[in-house]
């Protein structure tokens, strides 16, 4: 029965009508998997008025794109998106189906896998193929990053997982690539939703949402008072980054919960994480130690944050950060 299932699928993410770049990261993972298996890589694109963007998915590695372009899919809804995807999966039977571990990916995939009664592995940071068994090998951190687990779905199909954003770089766009764009239909019952989006209230944070940020300047209790977070905002502004915070800083109301990094906050994977006055409790490290580069500033030479830092500055943030800002401005 599993032999009927072939091919690798990625779920493209559309935000405000545009394909979001995490979709291309998924295609980079998908390309590796599909090449190892010797099967086509397909991107699934759901939305309203999105067909004209489908070629971008081919440019970034897809062999074909299944598009359901319908006004009902203008906004992400758990029910209409999962029903439409279930229809596509049952029609075309991919062996692997991956999505980004974003708020919509982490919503639609759990609803879909429960429907399909298959396995779903959350928030993977590494994917591969066990070629002997022809199985997807999914690696994910658990328990605050203290444990890495390798997980397989031997018997059920498709093998499904969500993948942590920024766990892989998109392939360089290749405009010479060719592929098929396939318009798919879904029955009206699948496209309809019981939910109504009333409005969207944007955050007033500096810079990109934390999960998307290339640079994060984060502050902890060592910032001494909420007003000092203005320094972090200024530095983040100069570096084109966003501001993050430790739980203690959030609990003290120095920063909004949306900027909390860690076990009970967000997992982030920026190019650069600057930790300012953060001790580096395991619960905080759980959310940020996957950053490419970490710079930490702390007065305590023994602070645990230094164990994950590429550059450890033993010093007072309230001196170091203003001096850095001064140099960047001049």
């Amino acid at each position: 029965m599993n032999e009927e299932y072939r091919g690798v699928w990625t779920l493209s993410e559309v935000r405000e009508g545009r394909i979001h770049p995490v979709s291309y990261e998924l295609l980079a993972w998908g390309r590796d998997l599909a090449d190892t298996l010797g099967v086509p890589l397909s991107a699934v694109l759901l939305g309203s008025g999105v067909t004209e963007q489908a070629p971008e998915l081919i440019v970034h590695g897809a062999d074909q794109v299944y598009v359901v372009d319908d006004p009902n899919l203008a906004h992400f809804k758990a029910d209409s998106f999962s029903k439409t995807l279930a229809e596509l999966v049952n029609r075309h039977r991919p062996e692997i189906f991956i999505a980004s571990a974003t708020s919509s990916g982490r919503t639609v995939m759990p609803v879909l896998y429960a429907d399909l009664e298959t396995g779903l592995t959350a928030d993977c940071t590494e994917l591969g193929i066990d070629t002997k068994e022809r199985l997807l090998l999914q690696t994910r951190p658990a328990i605050g990053g203290n444990v890495m687990a390798d997980i397989k779905t031997p018997l059920r199909r498709p093998q499904m997982c969500t993948v942590r954003p920024r766990s892989k770089k998109p392939l360089p766009p290749d405009r010479s690539r060719t592929g098929r764009i396939i318009a798919e239909k879904a029955v009206p019952g699948s496209l309809s939703s019981v939910m109504k989006l009333l409005e969207f209230l944007p955050e007033k944070n500096v810079g990109a949402p934390l999960q998307d940020a290339e640079v994060i300047v984060a502050g902890g209790k060592g910032m001494k008072k909420g007003a000092n977070f203005a320094l972090l905002e200024e530095l983040a502004g100069l570096l084109g980054g966003s501001v993050g915070a430790s739980r203690t800083a959030v609990d003290l109301n120095w920063a909004p919960y949306s900027s909390q990094v860690g076990l009970s906050g967000k997992s982030v994977t920026p190019k650069l994480y600057i930790a300012c006055g953060i001790s580096g409790a395991v619960q905080h490290l759980a959310g940020m130690s996957a950053a490419d580069t970490v710079i930490a500033v702390n007065t305590d030479p023994e602070a645990p944050i230094f164990r994950v830092a590429d550059l450890a500055i033993v010093g007072d943030v309230l001196e170091v950060i203003p001096a850095l800002i001064g140099r960047l401005k001049s």
């Binding site: 959350a122 090998l137 009970s264 190019k271 164990r307 590429d310 450890a312 010093g315 170091v320 850095l324």
Partner: protein, 265 residues
């Protein structure tokens, strides 16, 4: 209104271990607590009860070993009315799908709810999949990352969802399943009266034979995903250490050279 809350007991310490043979978490002999993120689901249920008044009843449901009744009692101490524990050796080794199936059957045994709440994720498994899967199996409106319940009146509710870059306000019909994020509220401390009531409350326990699920769909056999290997990464970077006290300028230069090296400035 009938409200259900799903709570999980998780290891309290950082020293959780994984059974290398079965790839499942070792729970015996490990100090446990109510999943901290589930406190927010319990708190929201109790607040809704305060808001909606008479006729609102809250049931706490957990699946786990016998000692998980402690987590159920902790939720009752915060103001929930009754509890239900799903406990059976045959549930052991459940992945999120088998867990969701079992919990969904438990919810039905409890008579169903207008509103079912879960935490965003458990601090041990950290998948956030169980809540939405239970909702889907039961055919409820599934709303994840809920950061506020604006209204829950006859037949429908309006919630806020925390998503990338902001919040969505969404209207959906009841019955509904909400997984809530930490920012939704600040959990209360339980009162002495609450603790005494929790101690006195009888918590019924249901096992595999009490649920209409075939044995092959429960526990380890009923779990599509298999943990095949576990490792304990040691995240360490041999960072270069610079004392700003020696030279503030020197420290700033070091930072700048990293920024340049990474192409950020």
């Amino acid at each position: 209104m009938r409200i259900g809350v799903l709570v999980k007991q998780v290891p309290a310490t950082e020293n959780v271990r994984i059974d290398e043979e079965t790839g499942t978490m070792v729970r015996e002999g490990v100090e446990a607590e109510l999943n901290p993120l589930d406190l927010h689901a319990v708190e929201e249920a109790v607040r809704l009860k305060d808001r909606l008044g008479e006729g609102t009843e809250i049931t706490v449901i957990s699946m786990g070993p016998p000692q998980a009744q402690k987590a159920v009692r902790a939720a009752i101490a915060m103001g929930c009315d009754r509890g239900l524990l799903l406990s059976d050796r045959r549930f052991a080794g459940s992945d999120t799908l088998a867990t969701a199936r079992t919990l969904a059957a438990g919810v039905q045994k409890a008579g169903g709810f207008d509103l079912l709440l879960s935490g965003e994720r458990a601090t041990d498994g950290e998948t956030g999949q169980v809540g939405p899967a239970v909702g889907q199996i039961l055919g409820l409106s599934v709303l994840t990352f809920v950061s506020a319940v604006e209204s829950a009146a006859k037949g429908s509710l309006v919630v806020r969802r925390a998503v990338e870059g902001g919040h969505e306000r969404v209207e959906a019909p009841l019955p509904a399943m909400l997984s809530v994020v930490k920012e939704i509220n600040t959990p209360r401390l339980c009162t002495l009266g609450g603790k005494i009531r929790a101690k006195k409350t009888e918590i019924p326990v249901l096992g595999a034979d009490d649920l209409p699920i075939p044995p092959e769909l429960l526990g380890l056999p009923g779990s599509p995903t298999k943990v095949v290997k576990v490792s304990y990464p040691q995240i360490t970077r041999s960072g270069k250490k610079v004392a700003a006290a020696d030279s503030l300028n020197g420290a700033v230069e070091e930072i700048l050279s990293v920024l340049r090296g990474r192409g950020i400035v």
